[in-house]
Point group: none
Chain length 235, copies 4
DNA sequence: CATGAATGAGGCTTCATTCAT
DNA sequence: TATGAATGAAGCCTCATTCAT
């Protein structure tokens, strides 16, 4: 039941090295070397390098997924909050930031997430979609309630714009932070970054919808798009 | 001067394969195989795999950089436009989208850009910063004029939020487009995506600035943060 | 005394897998996997992989050896039959075919026997010769009585010709049967194959002996080849 | 065109080691060690271990196949000989024995052939059948003319009985020869063995056909089987 | 200018076995 | 009696690179 010391040590080493150098660029030898563990132990405990990569993600995302589920339960219990975009984003941010993360680093993990998307790890993306599709769908459904004015496809793309912002900045945080520190003499924390991101994300999601000249556009969509009194932001 | 056929064929093959499988995951054998070129040709013409990777980027970014310079010249000539955020973004988008790109695919290149950021290609990032620092600085300066209300550091982060949106969505475009097509029966083009992105980016950059509770923040600073028309940080 | 369930399960699994994939190509992992038994159980119960291989043979050959001994007892008791080649072969065939073989398959075992001869399993051949030398010698002695016209060395080689026929066809039975079924629409059983083999073996053992042109052979000897009733070597 | 020295050295080493220890039991390291060649050379020149195994066979069988084709041409040109079983077998034996075999050993190759049949080398058997199916079919057709009295299926099985005799005795020749030498003080050559085998094979093919009580037996087959004037040998 | 051959290093995986429990 | 964990050795294969031609 309890993961053996060896398993934990391998996961710890892999997490850091993967984040730092990428998956392909990190050899099992290096991982087991850092973990001070026999090379064959990886295959014994995980079966393959691919499985190890997935295990690194699961160890992080499983608790997160559970935590976010709980928070969404609470959010749904509160009738008024259910449709509030800001509240929804707050919930998400809180869940991400408050993860116990014994020893893990959010930054490290975000780099991994960035890698997962950009590197050719089809197996990983499939597995993540498979394993965390539920929580993602649930969040998406709430987001829909909170952004009724958006067409489904529009919301889809905006959500991924935001996802890109998060993953890109967090996964490249080390580099970016160095630049920022050098240019603006300010060392930012992840929490501060989240605070900066929130209003941006809010405003982005609430941006007015421009008519997109699509091939497949239906009349209804077109209607929804134009009549669209937005609040808050301004041109 | 004129790149030999061999060189071009190698670059073409490398561009596609790198984008599809990542740098480390693409062997020279595969590249030369696709290019129908001798294995040793890569080292002969480029010297090393790293140099080939850089060459792929240079071939794309050099013309783009020149093109954007020209467009910014025109923009600066027009006094009124110089401070218009929308105009600036339009210029950028146009330059990106109108790149002659003989045979190249914008999507392909964006995937490469995503890889360059997430993968452990220190040498590449350094070289890109070195070679295209000028055009980036120039754009940043204009952006600054167009967003005077933003503190420098705030602008810095928001710019990277936007960069993340672009790179993430474009580099993962194939996947995302498939999902969108499946769920919303709508096959999007890059141009349409740009159209969707523009209002979002605009609104994101113009989002109100929230107080950031920094560790090193002094009380005065905290006050300044809430009032909207920016003061605070310094030029 | 009674082999534990674990032991039996291992032997069963090993028998099938060895026959199907060869000794070296079958890992203990696979065997214990199929047997649903702990990996270490093989080394615990048998000591080593080699010992397991031998045990598989012993389990089959020990009862067979005992059975054949009994049948030869009966044959020897009958004075007339002792010198009848057909009777001797019948006895052998019967013993082979009537083996109780609880759960074992004659075909499976013949494949193992083929492997034992062709694969580099010195230890195994030595052990088999050691353990079953007696019954083999006894059979050979009877065969000698039944084929007095053959020189010892001639008999030796012919016996192995026959052995080759048996082992080769039975060990490759699956494949050959498939071909035969495809080409001649006839699915043969092991018993039918034995029936086909018997006259062939009989006739083969009784073939006229040709003069063997040894290195030092003179021209005259060569002439002798055509004349039928054998002369030449002898015991 | 001319196989490089490296290629030949690898093939030579592989041939001997495979024959001596089997395919799985012979590592590429050992082969390249014996051939005094870089380990990676095998993969460079052959692509994989499997391909190397096949190449070993091709090097031997390609010339043999060509030679046998020629001899069969000659045999068919001679009208009278075309239907003579003894002549046909002589042709085959001659072709096998007279193979130039620069440096190769027939015995070595026969061991390989034995391995090919008994070991789990599906890929090899398929490739052999594919590549040498023609010459085999041609021989079979001639054999059919020479053994008109045999039903097709009967001939099929008897042919494989003979094949088993050949492969088994030749592939185990070293061992058997040692025994024979010890027991009968006679060191046999391959040619002598062939001479011993010939009359046995002839008589085996000409053995009287016994009625086989098959499930699927048709009336015609039954007829063919019984009416069967045999010559020569007898029970 | 180009290439076929070759190479040393290192990749992941699997193996049979051992040992503490 | 049985087992989960661990291990050193070795397996095959692929890599980027070099070099003589």
């Amino acid at each position: 039941m309890v993961p053996s010391d060896t398993v934990t040590r391998i996961l710890d080493a892999a997490e850091v090295l993967f984040a730092e150098h990428g998956f392909s660029e990190t050899s099992l030898r290096r991982i087991t070397g850092r973990a001070e563990v026999n090379l064959a132990a990886v295959n014994y405990h995980f079966g393959s390098k691919q499985a190890l990569i997935q295990a690194v993600f699961f160890r992080y995302l499983d608790p997160f997924s559970a935590d976010l589920h709980q928070r969404l339960d609470a959010l749904e219990a509160d009738e008024t909050g259910a449709c509030d975009l800001e509240g929804l984003l707050d919930t998400l941010f809180t869940s991400v930031l408050e993860m116990p993360s014994e020893g893990h680093d959010l930054r490290t993990f975000m780099k991994l997430l960035g890698l997962a998307y950009s590197q050719a790890q089809r197996h990983l993306r499939d597995e993540l979609r498979n394993r965390y599709g539920d929580i993602f769908s649930r969040f998406l459904k709430l987001l829909r309630r909170a952004t009724r004015e958006l067409a489904d496809d529009e919301r889809f793309w905006r959500l991924h714009f935001m996802l890109g912002s998060v993953i890109f900045t967090l996964s490249g945080l080390n580099t970016l932070r160095d630049i920022a520190e050098h240019d603006y003499h300010q060392r930012i924390t992840i929490r501060e970054l989240a605070q900066r991101l929130k209003p941006v994300a809010l405003n982005a999601l609430r941006a007015p919808v421009t008519e997109v000249a699509s091939n497949a556009m239906t009349a209804q969509h077109a209607d929804q798009v134009t009549c669209y009194p937005r609040t808050g932001t301004h041109s």
